[in-house]
Amino acid sequence: MNLRRLPARAAVAVLTSFVVTGSAIAGLKESARTVVVDLAARTAQGHFSGARATADATQLITCSAYIGDSQPHAEGGISRFTNCVAVDSKGVSAFCWTADSAMLASVLSMTGDSMIYISWNANGHCVSIDVRQSSALEPKR
């Protein structure tokens, strides 16, 4: 090992660590906050935190999971379903629901900072519920 060059290597290492730290502080940040509803394409998307942070009081994106027994003293009353709602800045609304257990699990995995994308068919049944977690998404304020 060349001891004369050791300080130079240490300096490079220190500088590299600053660069790495600096890039983590900067990071990629998505600024899109608006809820987008496309009724013709039967799709909607939005970011929980971003929608909440918008200036208007209209935008909304919500997903709910329901498990209930409407006949607790007999068989056949249990049902499970989930639904999602999206409202854009103009008040255009979208709704889909499903009893699919995998989609219900997807809704249960959402957090307050999730970005979601939904699509539905002609009967309003959810065709997809995509959940995205990302460092680029701003946290709820």
């Binding site: 007999a74 009353g77 409202v87 255009v92 609304s93 709704f95 889909c96 309003g124």
Partner: protein, 163 residues
């Protein structure tokens, strides 16, 4: 010590007694046999299935007598001997209360669809109604709700979930 001839005599006597007892039991008619014989007289040629116990036989006899009396009096014969078939209806009991809730839920949705706005009070009421509806009716209602929102432009004005 007992003589051999005495043992043989006792065994023979026991055999005679057992044999007589067996013949008596074999030849005695049971209550079921009595009922079967009576029923055969009352019925006009129809085949009678032998019952497995006396009570079933008595019940069949009563039924046959009722049928014969009804025929004699010119009344329609009701054959109610066989039990009704098992119900294949869904497990959920449809009561008048369920029907009333379903009608009210659809009325709430119809009113909101007409005004093209789904409000917080609608959500509260439908949430309560939905919890008591059978799954099939609940799903039909949600499909109608989705079509009102996505196809007819009903706006969601609730603060949270629509119901």
């Amino acid at each position: 010590m007992r003589p051999v001839w005495l043992s043989h005599a006792l065994a023979g006597a026991a055999g005679v007694v057992l044999g007589a007892l067996a013949v008596h039991l074999w030849s005695s008619p049971s209550r079921a046999d009595d009922a079967r014989a009576s029923a055969a007289v009352a019925d006009d040629g129809s085949t009678i299935v032998t019952p497995s116990d006396a009570s079933a036989s008595d019940e069949r006899l009563r039924r046959l007598l009722r049928e014969e009396l009804a025929r004699r009096d010119g009344l329609p014969v009701a054959r109610t001997a066989s039990p009704p078939a098992a119900s294949t209806a869904p497990a959920f009991a449809h009561s008048a209360d369920v029907e009333a809730r379903s009608a009210r839920a659809n009325a709430v949705l119809d009113a909101a669809t007409a005004r093209l706005a789904w409000r917080e009070e609608d959500a509260v009421e439908l949430r309560q109604l939905l919890s008591a509806l059978p799954p099939a009716e609940r799903e039909a209602l949600m499909t109608r709700f989705a079509q009102a929102v996505n196809d007819r432009g009903m706006r969601l004005e609730t603060l949270g979930p629509p119901f």
